[in-house]
Symmetry: C2
Subunit: 396 residues, 2 copies
C-alpha cells in the first residue's frame, strides 16, 4: 500500500447551466468535488443545492457539534476503507447540528472512494468486497410529456433507442384528474410496447391516501411495476395504507434519505418494495452500501437514484454492483448538456441494452475539465473581513 497519504485539499465547485428551468430536472446544476489525496485526485458529486453545500464546507464553527465539514476531512490520512468510514463518522459527529452537512459529505465520500480506488488500482465495487459488477437493465428515466401524446412519443423513442424499461415522472402527473393521469399512463404503455417495464414517479405529489388509491386501476391496467414517492418520504402510515391497497404494484422511495438510518426506517415502516438511494445525498457510497446490505436482509430490492452526470451514475451503481438479483438501475436519458459534457467517459447500454460499470480504478470515469470549466459559477463568500470561499481553479 505504500506509505500513508493524507487529504491535502477539499475543493467544491458550483457548476450550472446558463439557464436553470423551473422543472423537475435535477441535472441543471451540480456540486463537483475534488480531493487531493497525496498524488491522487478523487472526484465526487453532491446531489444538492450548491451554495448552501459550499457554505457547509467552509462556514465558521457554531459549537463543538456544529463545525464546517472541511474541518473533519482536511489533513486526514486516507489509506484504506476504514479511513473512509472514520472520516464519515467524524463529519456526522462534528457537524451533527449542521443540516446541510450530509449532502456535502456525500460528494466527499464518493471522491474518497474514487481516490482510494486509483491508489489501490481497483474499481470501487471490488474495494466494497464484491467479486464482480453485474450488468444492470437501465430504465430510461425521464419527465412525463406535457400531453399524453408527448409522453407516448417519448415512450416510442425510448423503445426505439433499445431500452427495455422506462420511468416517467413529475410534470402534471397527480396534479390533475385521474383520467388525465390514466391517459399519460396508457400513452406510455402503448409507446413502450407490451414487454417493457414501466415505472412511474409521482414526485411526492399527494397528501392523502385516497388521491393515490384513485390511480390504482390505471396503474394496474398499464402494468406499472412501481409507483415512486406518492407522498413525502416521512409519511410512513400513508405508505403502509397505500401498499395494502395496491397489492402487487410496489412502492418505491428513499431518494431523499440523507443518512442510512432514514432509509432503514423506510424499509422497516413504509412498506417499500424498492428502496432508491442517491449516493450523492445519503452521505456517499459508504452509507448507500449499508442500506443495500440492509435491504437484502429485509427482502427489499435496492435501486440507485441518479439524475445527473455519469460520475454520479457510477457512484450510485457501486453500492449494489455485486448484487446479482437487483437487476434494474436508473439511467437518466435527457440530462442537460452540463451533465453530459462534464465527463469524458459515459456508461452506455450495450447491444443487449445492458449497462456495465467500468472495470477501471475508482469510479472509472474521467472528467472533461475543459468542458466543465465552461459551467463553473464563480462564488465568493465573505464573513467580516475574511473570504471563506472563492471558487478555486478547476484542474486535474
Amino acid at each position: 500500500m505504500g506509505s500513508l497519504v493524507r487529504i491535502e485539499a477539499v475543493d467544491f465547485f458550483y457548476l450550472a447551466m446558463p439557464q436553470v428551468l423551473d422543472i423537475g430536472d435535477g441535472s441543471q446544476d451540480m456540486v463537483l468535488v475534488r480531493l487531493q489525496v497525496g498524488p491522487y485526485v478523487g472526484w465526487g458529486e453532491c446531489e444538492a443545492s450548491p451554495l448552501p453545500t459550499i457554505a457547509s464546507l467552509v462556514c465558521p464553527m457554531s459549537h463543538s457539534a456544529c463545525k464546517p465539514v472541511r474541518d473533519s476531512v482536511l489533513g486526514q490520512p486516507l489509506d484504506d476503507q476504514a479511513d473512509i468510514a472514520r472520516i464519515g463518522d467524524a463529519v456526522r459527529a462534528n457537524s451533527l447540528d449542521l443540516l446541510q452537512a450530509d449532502h456535502a459529505l456525500s460528494g466527499i465520500d464518493i471522491a474518497m472512494w474514487d481516490a482510494l480506488g486509483k491508489r489501490l488500482d481497483a474499481p470501487v465495487y471490488l474495494l466494497l468486497g464484491d467479486d464482480r459488477a453485474y450488468p444492470k437493465v437501465p430504465y430510461a428515466s425521464q419527465l412525463f410529456g406535457e400531453t399524453p401524446e408527448e409522453t407516448g412519443e417519448k415512450a416510442r423513442r425510448t423503445r426505439a433507442d433499445g431500452y427495455r424499461a422506462a420511468k416517467f415522472g413529475w410534470g402534471t402527473f397527480g396534479r390533475g384528474s385521474v383520467e388525465a393521469d390514466a391517459a399519460h399512463l396508457q400513452a406510455a404503455r402503448a409507446g413502450l410496447g407490451d414487454d417493457a417495464t414501466l415505472l412511474v414517479d409521482a414526485g411526492t405529489v399527494w397528501r392523502d391516501v385516497d388521491q393515490a388509491a384513485a390511480r390504482l386501476d390505471a396503474l394496474r391496467e398499464c402494468r406499472v411495476t412501481w409507483l415512486e414517492e406518492p407522498f413525502p418520504a416521512g409519511e410512513f402510515a400513508a405508505h403502509r395504507a397505500l401498499a395494502a391497497i395496491y397489492g402487487d404494484i410496489a412502492l418505491a422511495g428513499g431518494e431523499g434519505c440523507h443518512n442510512a438510518r432514514q432509509a432503514e426506517h423506510m424499509i422497516d415502516h413504509a412498506a417499500l418494495g424498492f428502496v432508491q438511494i442517491d449516493a450523492g445525498r445519503i452521505g456517499g457510497i459508504t452509507p448507500a452500501r449499508a442500506v443495500a446490505t440492509y435491504a437484502h436482509q429485509r427482502g427489499v430490492m435496492y435501486v440507485n437514484h441518479s439524475f445527473t452526470s455519469h460520475l454520479a451514475l457510477s457512484a450510485s451503481l457501486q453500492p449494489y454492483a455485486g448484487a446479482e438479483h437487483d437487476t434494474i438501475c436508473e439511467y437518466p436519458v435527457e440530462p442537460k448538456s452540463l451533465a453530459v459534457e462534464v465527463t469524458r467517459d459515459h456508461i452506455a447500454p450495450d447491444a443487449d441494452g445492458l449497462i456495465h460499470l467500468p472495470a477501471r480504478p475508482g469510479l472509472g470515469i474521467d472528467l472533461d475539465l475543459d468542458a466543465a470549466r465552461r459551467y463553473v459559477q464563480d462564488v465568493e463568500i465573505k464573513v467580516g473581513e475574511q473570504t471563506l470561499y472563492r471558487t478555486p481553479e478547476l484542474r486535474d
Copy 2:
C-alpha cells in the same frame, strides 16, 4: 382582521460571539430572522449554522423542487394561522431537495407567529388554540464541569439560585470510564440535594447499547429522571434495547428532528419517555405543535429544547404552553452574552421557581437592537456578477 397583509421582507442576520469556543454550547451564535408583514415586524431565530442557512434563503434555484426558501415566503399573504401552515407546506415542497431549508423555515415560521400575534393582539399560545399558558418548572440546563468537583459546585449554585431541576450534559460525560461518569453524577446529586430533579444529556456520545447500559447503576443511584440522547437520533433499535434495560429511567431525545414526522417516528419506534423539540430546528412552532399533539396521544411527555436566547425560549414554549401535565421545560442558565443581550425582555423564574410565558402579543419578547448590532457578522455572498446576499440593516 382588517385587510390582507403580505410578507414584504424576509431578512436573516448572522450574530456571533467575538470568539466561538469548541464546546457544546449552542448559544455562541444565532440566525436572527426579521419579517416585515404589512406594518408589523415579526422576529424569529433559527437554531442552525448561520452561513448555510443564509445561503438556503437566497441561493439560485437548482430545479422545481430545489428553490431558495425566500421564493416561497416573500410576497405571501399572512392573515391567519392557515396562511402560516400554507407557507410552511410551500417551503417543504419547493425546497424538498434543499436539506438546510428546514432550519431556515424554522426561524421564518416563528417570526410569522410573532407577526400574526402582534397583528391580532394575542400571544401565540392563544392563536394555537390554548386557553392559557401554564407555568413550567425550568430545569437549569448546563454543561458538566471539567471535574466532578466543578459539576458539584455548579449543582450547588443552581440549587442556591432556586431551581428545582437541573440538567448536565456534554463535556467528558460518556467519553471516559464508568467510574468517572458516576463521580460526576454523584457530585451533581449531592450539590442539588435530594428533592431536586436531575437530568442527564449524553450528547449522542455512544455507538452501542452496552456503553450506555454500563451507566445504569450510577444513573439509578443518583435518581436521574431521564437520560438524553445516548445515541444518534436515528438509532431506534439501540434506543429500544436501552429502554428495556433502563426500566424506570426514561429516555429523552428528538432535538435534532427537522420535521414533525421524524419526531413522530422517534415517539413510535425509539421508546422515548420525553420528546424534546427545538422550534428553531423542526421547522418552527407549527410542526412543533403537531408533535406536541401527537406526543399527548401516545402518552409521551413533550419538552422544549432551547439553548440560546429568550426569543428562542419563548418560541420553544408556545407549542405546549397549554399542556398542563407537561410541567417541565429547558432553561439555559449559562448562555453567552449574545444570547442574553439580544433581548430586552427575559423570562425569569418567579418566587416559586416557576417560569411564565409573557401574556403579550406574539412571542412577547422585545429585542435590544442596539445590543444585537454589536454581534452582527457582515456577510456577503456573490455568484457570478450578482450579490445574492449582503447583511441588511438591523432595524425595528
